[in-house]
Symmetry: C2
Subunit: 213 residues, 2 copies
């Protein structure tokens, strides 16, 4: 991913935070079946200087067989994304030197994949992933709510995936290259419920990424 320095985010906490907020990553590889991409929910594990991503795939999904023979894969996490109309920039009215673009936040992780078929590992990963998603809810569901023989049969239908992270990069393209008045114009435009590109979450991120503007 091309990352001009203005948009680069290297802070591991910020990158892990985006993964936690948008856990449905796109798992990408190029193996014997060619280019493959599968949407899979991931967990980021810090592991003291040996960070990893962990997930599970349906055994029926042939992607895991390709991964088993590979030394590298890529996982892409995308957060908020929004079209930016040049009409939102006040500088449009003066210089007219403006063009459309997109704002987005994205984390890309490269690593070494390992397929894991140990029942204990799978139980741990499924439990941890479920807790990470359900803890925000008032009535969190737990795997223990289901009959144990049912959970056992479900475990047989999945395989585990651990990706030892070798590279992790973040790009927050959030109007940091614009003049202060244009940044304010973008926030205003994205906060306008009558605009088809109304997006309050994206507006908040543009604000927080441009604190002095």
């Amino acid at each position: 991913m091309y990352i001009p320095s203005t948009f680069s985010e290297a802070d591991a906490k910020a990158l892990a935070g985006l993964i936690s907020q948008y856990p449905l990553g796109l798992l990408i590889s190029s193996g014997t079946s060619g280019l493959l991409a599968s949407p899979i929910p991931f967990l980021y594990r810090e592991n003291e200087n040996a960070p990893s991503l962990v997930a599970h795939l349906a055994r029926a999904n042939p992607h895991w067989k390709d991964l088993a023979g590979l030394s590298e894969c890529l996982v892409v996490f995308q957060g908020a994304a929004n079209y930016v109309s040049p009409d939102w920039y006040p500088s449009k009215q003066t210089t007219h030197k403006v063009v459309p673009t997109w704002n987005y936040e994205m984390v890309q992780v490269k690593g070494v994949p390992t397929i894991i078929e140990l029942t204990d590992w799978l139980g741990g990963q499924v439990g941890e992933l479920t807790e990470s998603m359900e803890k925000r809810r008032q009535t969190p569901w737990r795997p223990g709510d289901a009959p144990s023989d049912f959970i056992e049969s479900q475990m047989k239908a999945i395989v585990g995936l651990e990706i030892r992270i070798t590279d992790m990069k973040g790009k927050w393209k959030m109007s940091q290259n614009r003049l202060p008045e244009d940044v304010r114009g973008v926030v205003h435009g994205m906060s306008d419920p009558t605009d088809p590109y109304f997006n309050l979450r994206a507006a908040e991120i543009v604000s927080s990424r441009n604190p002095v503007k």
Copy 2:
């Protein structure tokens, strides 16, 4: 992408519709620089039996140089996506045989990339892309609003990309494999503003993809 028949969507209009609604695709290739993924807005062109995706990239983005030497690339478009809590299923209260999952809509396109550096082609693509985004707005911005020497300098900073489509697949994983009462539970759960996974757009798609439920 693994697509059980229950979730498969082959209708070209539905696939093109998702691309139009979520034009920011993830352009993926495996070339001399290894696995690369770039978020890029795309346009789908029907071209009478020879459909293509067209886009432009910043010349400073090295991804286009890798693409120039490749015979295949992949573009992934993701639409609505949402966590599905088993707590939403009424069958949770009876059989308890339920587990969490994710719903999502996704289109994956494979094709043959060609890099295009013709000014006329670039002008046409930029104009068409801008119109597709701005036509929804009350005060559509047009490239002609900017000074021509400015637009010319912008054109020099981009390269064109045309992908002749060889394969296009759609997956709408929207609870079609659930019992009618569980589908209604999912729609109800996603429509509950007090739930952290509140998502009205996703709820609408679950409804429309399960018409007889």
